[in-house]
């Protein structure tokens, strides 16, 4: 019977390329490499879960890579991120139960991206201190967290991103935190950054473009 759509042609010779090859070689080319940047979840210590609105947005199949600034705290949070994308990079936060590297440098497209939680950079979130680290790591984009406050700025022709806290967990210094995360759409030599913020139960999106010189 017609039943399953594949059945009638299933006697076809097997494809020459495996599914894995397809995913890496072909689909990759088609899809823009979307990179999700988030961190400081603090589940379950300071927050119970991601906001429902965020969970609705984050569906599998769209995101290629996840960069996490740390403080996932539990393995469960990590496993949740794994459901969204196959490629996931986490650095170690100050209240981490799992062992991650202190900092990471990776390349997406033409961009070198440095990833660090940020509690090591003193004063926390200070542009000059971050620029020091940026020069050490020799990266185009430096991603840090820990302050729980979204920031994206250009400093001395380099790009700095702080995705804030995805759950809106309180930080050491502040109680009212706006939940936020960042999505990077990396094209040839430009990064388009979409910032998702949950303001009074509404998701607000901002778009910031950064061009590599």
């Amino acid at each position: 019977m017609e039943g399953s759509a594949v059945a009638w042609l299933s006697w076809a010779p097997p494809p020459r390329h495996s599914a894995a090859f397809m995913r890496l070689g072909l689909l990759h080319r088609l899809a823009p490499p979307l990179v999700l940047v988030l961190g400081d979840l603090h589940i379950p210590h300071r927050c119970s879960a991601l906001p429902a609105k965020f969970k609705e947005l984050l569906v599998p199949g769209k995101i290629e890579h996840i960069l996490c600034t740390g403080n996932l705290c539990t393995k469960e949070s990590y496993d949740y991120l794994r459901t969204l994308a196959g490629d996931i990079h986490v650095v170690r936060g100050d209240s981490e139960s799992l062992n991650y590297p202190e900092e990471k440098v990776l390349t997406v497209g033409q961009f070198r991206i440095g990833l660090i939680h940020g509690h090591q950079v003193i004063p926390w979130g200070d542009a000059a201190s971050l620029a020091l680290l940026q020069r050490q790591l020799d990266v185009d984009i430096l991603i840090s967290g820990h302050t729980h406050r979204f920031e994206a700025f250009e400093y001395e022709k380099k790009f700095y991103i702080n995705p804030g806290s995805a759950t809106g967990a309180y930080s050491a210094l502040e109680r009212n935190i706006t939940p936020s995360f960042v999505l990077m759409d990396i094209q040839a030599s430009t990064v388009v950054t979409y910032v998702y913020q949950l303001i009074e139960d509404d998701v607000k999106v901002e778009r910031i473009e950064f061009k590599k010189y």
């Binding site: 017609e2 759509a5 006697w11 010779p13 769209k62 999505l183 901002e206 778009r207």
Partner: protein, 819 residues
């Protein structure tokens, strides 16, 4: 009878008619050549000027003509576009992509191309170029319907689906492995899917598109090659512009899909739906009649239930009995327009005919049936799994054009000549194995239990057949001109000589072993097969291509008739047939014990095969009887004549015995009914007679055998005298024996002992053990006893027994006849 097929394209001939450029030749997947073939520089023609002249000449032949459309249609149906360099243009005309009016060609073409460009622009989206849309709606994670990003991600899924199929399009062709070709295929399919949201992309469409892209490419290559030398006409330049391969492919493809789209749709018919709601399911509906009625399923069902039923009810019944629903194989056949059933080169010829015939692709149904008929003998003689294997892996067909002719004939027998019937015949083991694979796949979970048993029983039957086969061959080698076969006698020696070397091959070449075996089996049951299969070009191929008036359609309309004629052909000498029979019966009895454990369907099938085989055996024996009767008749006539001339003393008795023989002859001939009870009665009698003889021998014990030797010598001498008058053929001798025996009973008194020569040996051997106790005085009695004893031992023919016992009763039986 239609001759041109067998003459122009006999399967044994290598196809040399392809002059000019055969695009496929350079595109077969040879890694070394694949790259160079891309730029079309591999075309062998060296003289470029001449190339262009022939090129433009071909153009003129095809299209510069008042009635050019009819011409190219005819060419398409006759397979003459096989090597054409304007096949794509022809297809465009067939499919009404180009109008009939030649002046409109350029305009229409450019219109279609611009429309495709627009379509492509609309559907192949880049979300980043949207720009001014609201970010809330248009961000990468948006799930809003209007979002370009959302559309992009949806497209991504569709594209992934298409790409997956495109990458495995014609994996054996280098051309389709190129990245740019794949992109063209994907884009065209994607645009079509977006333009037809109802249908979207369905698996199989890529296989319809691929040949179109391929012939467009080939024509473009030929064009660019030809235009190197001279300036082609404006029409050619526009129509065959390689830049617009994708655009043209889209245009042809969409037009083709207009006909084919309902075969891909899985939507139910509304009317059918309503009917289902109103009427509760039919009580005796087959599984394929139930469930949702999809257009394609309805179509293949209609083909099998009506067309096939009309043209070959037997095959239809067979498939029905095996519960092979047409959609199992037909879905693919129709949807891909037989794309998987033929190699690409043949496929293009089939498509030529399909498109040329009508844009509605009406010929599909008949090609479908013609394909079934081509393998009908193999199908009918096969069980479920072999059938499935045959249908799902359609055997390579030698001459695809004959198939088209057949299809045309099926559709309209009045206007199309009857084609020569080709039948597929080959080793079925491969297909059985494939079928088993299929069954394993499909039934893995459901009910795989009877499968093993089937396999075992099949191999058992095969084993039995192998036992028989050699006997059959040697039996066949003894060509019997008088066997009353329906064949022209001249074909017999050819056949037997053709098969003898084959038999040797059979031992020598292991890899041919199976197919040869199969061929022997085939020749046993289907003697009228034309040597069609290309697979084993053995000496058997030297058969006359068509025995007059014996296309298998004429003769082999049913398996029973086939085996009948087969049996006649192989009327061998009796001992051979006996051994044949023995091995056969052992097979039967074995497979019968096996059949108890078999599933019912299987056993029925095998029983059928056995029945047809037995029928062949019966016919064998019948023919033998008739032959015996005929020979007896002539020799008896001779004897009678001689006796009447001789005016012998005991003429009456001789004639009466002759009459008895004639009675036997009639029984053999079948004109006198043979009564079973008669036989039993006489058998009993015989036993008592034998007892009597022994008694009489015992009574005569004590008599010396001193005289016995001389007597025998004397007898021999006299009998020699006697028989000189008789005709000396062996048959008459045996006839003589009986007569002599009868005579002897009288002769014991009249002292004219005339034992037959052939009985002499038996007599001696029988007499010797008793020799010591024999009376020398009554020498004739023991002799007579031994003769009659031996004769009664020798043959169980009722005549001589009864004659031994009492002459009177014997006469009473015989006399009413023949005298």
């Amino acid at each position: 009878m239609y001759h041109s097929v067998s003459e122009t394209s006999h399967p044994l001939q290598t196809e040399e008619q392809e002059i000019g450029i055969d695009p496929l030749q350079s595109f077969l997947n040879k890694p070394g050549e694949g790259g160079s073939s891309e730029n079309g520089s591999t075309h062998q023609t060296s003289d470029s000027d001449g190339t262009f002249i022939s090129y433009s000449k071909e153009w003129e032949e095809l299209f510069v003509n008042n009635n050019y459309l009819a011409t190219i249609r005819l060419k398409g149906i006759n397979g003459q576009l096989r090597s054409s360099r304007f096949r794509s243009v022809c297809w465009k005309l067939f499919l009404e992509v180009l109008p009939q009016d030649r002046s409109q060609w350029i305009k229409t073409t450019s219109d279609l191309r611009t429309s495709y460009s627009k379509i492509k622009e609309i559907h192949i989206t880049n979300p980043r170029k949207a720009g001014q849309q609201d970010l809330i709606i248009n961000n990468p994670l948006s799930q809003d319907e209007g979002s370009l990003w959302n559309k992009f991600f949806q497209d991504k899924e569709l594209r992934a689906m298409i790409e997956q199929d495109v990458t495995r399009t014609f994996p054996e062709m280098q051309y389709f492995q190129q990245e740019n070709v794949r992109k063209i295929l994907t884009d065209v399919l994607f645009c079509y899917a977006r333009e037809n949201e109802q249908l979207l992309y369905k698996q199989g469409m890529h296989e319809l598109l691929a040949p179109i892209v391929f012939i467009l490419h080939c024509d473009h290559q030929a064009f660019s090659h030809a235009s190197e030398a001279a300036q082609p006409s404006e029409e050619m330049k526009v129509l065959l512009n390689p830049e617009y391969l994708e655009h043209d492919a889209y245009a042809v493809f969409t037009r083709l899909m207009k006909t084919a789209e309902h075969w891909f749709s899985t939507f139910e018919h509304d009317s059918q739906k309503e009917k289902d709601v109103m009427v509760t399911p039919m009580p005796f509906a087959r599984p394929q009649d139930l469930g949702p009625s999809i257009a394609i399923v309805a179509k293949v069902n209609q083909i099998q239930d009506h067309l096939l039923k009309k043209h070959d009810i037997e095959l239809y019944m067979h498939l029905n009995r095996l519960e092979i629903a047409p959609q199992i194989y037909g879905l693919r056949w129709v949807r891909l327009l037989f794309g998987r059933e033929f190699p690409l080169q043949d496929l293009l010829v089939v498509w030529d005919a399909l498109f040329a015939d009508s844009i509605t692709l009406n010929l599909v149904d008949y090609i479908f049936v013609a394909m079934l008929l081509y393998i009908r003998d193999a199908l009918i003689s096969s069980n479920y799994q072999t059938c499935l294997g045959l249908l799902m892996h359609y055997p390579p067909i030698g001459d695809v054009h004959s198939l088209i002719l057949r299809a045309l004939f099926l559709r309209d027998p009045k206007r199309n000549p009857r084609p020569v019937t080709h039948q597929f015949q080959q080793n079925l083991d491969y297909y059985k194995a494939r079928g088993a694979d299929l069954m394993n796949k499909t039934r893995a979970s459901a009910k795989a239990a009877p499968l093993n048993i089937n396999k075992v029983s099949n191999s058992l039957l095969n084993f039995g057949r192998k036992l028989i086969a050699p006997a059959m061959v040697s039996g066949g080698a003894v060509a019997n001109p008088a066997s009353g076969s329906s064949f022209p006698p001249s074909s017999m020696p050819i056949r037997s000589t053709a098969e003898a070397p084959q038999h040797q091959q059979h031992h020598q070449q292991q890899h041919h072993h199976q197919s040869q075996q199969q061929r022997m089996m085939k020749s046993e049951s289907m003697p009228v097969q034309l040597g069609k299969g290309e697979a084993a070009p053995g000496p058997a191929q030297q058969l006359p291509p068509a025995l007059p008036g014996q296309s298998s359609k004429n003769i082999s309309s049913s398996p029973s008739i086939e085996s009948l004629s087969g049996g006649r052909e192989f009327t061998g000498s009796p001992p051979l047939s006996a051994s044949k029979k023995d091995s056969f019966f052992s097979t039967i009895s074995r497979s019968r014990s096996q059949s108890k454990t078999m599933s019912r369907k299987e056993s029925e099938e095998e029983l059928e095969a056995q029945i047809s085989f037995l029928q062949g055996q019966l016919n064998d024996l019948e023919a033998m009887c008739k032959y015996c009767a005929k020979m007896m008749n002539t020799h008896l006539g001779n004897i009678q004549e001689v006796i009447l001339q001789e005016h012998l003393e005991k003429e009456d008795e001789i004639l009466v015995s002759l009459a008895g023989l004639k009675q036997i002859k009639d029984i053999l001939k079948g004109s006198l009914r043979f009564n079973q009870s008669q036989l039993e009665a006489e058998e009993n009698e015989q036993i008592t007679i034998a007892d009597d003889h022994y008694c009489s021998n015992n009574q005569n014990k004590g008599a010396g055998d001193v005289l016995k030797g001389p007597v025998m010598a004397k007898q021999q001498f006299t009998s020699g005298h006697q028989t000189t008058t008789d005709s000396s053929t062996s048959e008459s001798k045996s006839a003589d024996d009986y007569i002599m025996v009868c005579k002897e009973e009288e002769g014991s008194k009249s002292a004219v002992p005339e034992p037959a020569q052939s009985l002499q040996a038996h007599k001696e051997s029988a007499a010797k053990p008793e020799a010591a106790s024999r009376s020398s005085l009554i020498f004739s009695d023991p002799l007579m006893g031994s003769i009659s004893a031996s004769s009664s031992n020798l043959s169980s023919s009722p005549d001589d027994d009864s004659s031994n016992n009492s002459k009177d009763s014997d006469f009473a039986i015989v006399s009413p006849l023949d005298i």
